[in-house]
């Protein structure tokens, strides 16, 4: 039976929403493929109660089994020097066809080195899809090519497939897909000191964008008043970015939903956060659609500008968007 590993990130003693979304995505495809989903937690020292709570949450998100390595070496930055040997050892044991990382800094930090250690393939900002062409469903990874927005498709677990490693977008909370893990298997941290030392740290002011499940990309033509109103009306977790801004965390962002508003095309730095599975909405003119790859829904505002959108966000739609 094929195994799928999902790396679960813990921040401030809680598993991240992006990690739970990634586990849910793995569950979605694993159930049809007959695969087993392993939620793997690598974190600093934690109490038994905290680890049991992580197991409950990750089990409910969809993991069949939950594994945990809690060690002081994993309490700082999540870099290959710290977590790489542990993950590679685990992959040697479980032989996963696919290893998933949630959205955020952890994917670019751990995914490419792991793919190299495994002799595997790496797809960043990927979406998981099941393809049915008459026979049994096949799992494919899709991602956008940065150059032109064309879609790259990679078969996972084919006859000659190499193990795949991918990062996923930051999704919204999904309905519970599994049951609380009965047991969390504790794993030892491999011997050997990391070569990287942490000198100091402070809260990350880019975390909201890094893990944003939704981005509202606003053209530079949008009036300041509309921008202020959009920011005030944005759903919880959503971040508004105006064209030309380069806020901290944007290089790492990968939202499951993107709304582009205004007449101008979204900046390349924003467009490149998308995955083929990202739900994309456009509230604007033709120019706003440029280079978005795939658009799901379009609304052409009249000359009244974006005030109807602000009103809709403020109104009954707000609770639905936040769901």
């Amino acid at each position: 039976m094929a195994n799928i590993i999902v790396f679960v990130e813990v921040r401030r003693d809680e598993t991240t929403l992006a990690s739970r979304f990634a586990v849910g995505e793995a569950r979605r495809v694993a159930s049809e493929l007959g695969a087993t989903v392993y939620g793997v937690i690598a974190t600093g020292p934690a109490s038994e109660a905290a680890i049991a709570m992580h197991g409950k949450v990750i089990g409910e998100a969809g993991a069949d089994r939950v594994l945990c390595c809690a060690d002081a070496a994993l309490g700082g930055p999540l870099l290959d020097a710290e977590a790489g040997p542990f993950l590679a050892g685990l992959c040697e044991r479980l032989r996963p066809v696919l290893t998933l990382f949630p959205a955020g800094a952890v994917g670019p930090a751990l995914g490419p080195p792991l793919a190299m250690r495994l002799g595997g393939l790496f797809h960043a900002r990927a979406s998981l899809e099941l393809v049915r062409d008459g026979g049994a469903p096949r799992l494919v990874l899709r991602r956008f090519r940065a150059a032109d927005g064309a879609v790259r498709t990679l078969d996972v677990a084919g006859a000659h497939a190499r193990p795949a490693v991918a990062t996923l977008p930051a999704g919204l909370a999904s309905r519970l897909r599994g049951a609380p893990a009965v047991e969390v298997e504790m794993l030892p941290y491999p011997a050997g000191a990391s070569a990287v030392r942490e000198l100091s740290s402070e809260p990350d002011d880019g975390e909201a964008i890094e893990l944003a499940p939704a981005l509202l990309a606003v053209g530079s033509d949008v009036k300041a008043a509309d921008l202020t109103a959009l920011r005030a009306a944005a759903p919880p977790g959503a971040v508004v970015i105006r064209d030309g801004e380069r806020p901290p965390g944007i290089d790492l962002a990968c939202p499951a939903r993107m709304l582009v508003a205004g007449k101008a095309a979204a900046a390349a730095i924003v467009r490149r956060t998308l995955t083929p599975g990202t739900r994309v909405a456009v509230a604007g003119g033709k120019a706003a659609e440029k280079d978005l790859g795939r658009i799901d829904v379009i609304w052409r505002p009249a000359k009244t500008g974006l005030s109807p959108l602000v009103a809709a966000l403020n109104g009954s739609a707000r609770s639905e968007v936040a769901r």
């Binding site: 290959d80 020097a81 790259r152």
Partner: protein, 213 residues
Amino acid sequence: MRVVVCVEPWGLSDASRAAVALAVRVFPRDAITALAATDSSATAALAEAQELGAFRTAQVMEESLESLDVGGLGKTLSQALLSLQADLVLCGARSDDEGRGIVPAAIAHHWKAPYVPHVEELAVSGGEATVLVRSNGRKRKLAVPLPAVLTVGASLTVAPAIRPDAHPLSVEILRLGDAAQRTLNRSSDLGTLEKPKRKPVAASSASDLLRRW
């Protein structure tokens, strides 16, 4: 101190420009080499790197590079780094071509050096690089032993130091041995290519847009 900035041979990405700009801000210009690897000329890309501040430019030119997968490319570049006696490598976090962001990790893997992506600040002293990264919800200042491979994101705002007085470009061509050992794996690791399917739905109102989003 020898700093090598690995750049895309077909043209610098925004992230690679930021990597060159960061190197120029931190190191003396004569410490910085721009390196590319391809089966044909990388002159235009290396010329831009030089305009941005690289002192020296070097290229691995081998026919086999046309078909190498990322592991082979990483191995080739790591051997070039040995030839250049590099202490520190900077790369753009992701290219403007495929945009996977795996080549720097492939270099680090074969060079057997620590890999730290998306650094935002950099200083070097006493055989260590001090970098600022965002990881696990915190901005962290880290000491990374050299040699190391660091990447820089496209959004890092570093004032470019255009050098109109740059010398005419002279690209040093690196000849590496054992090319055959680096061409064993020629299978594509990119996947197949499709045009994106665009079938957008027209929303009747802003509320409808949000409902369907």
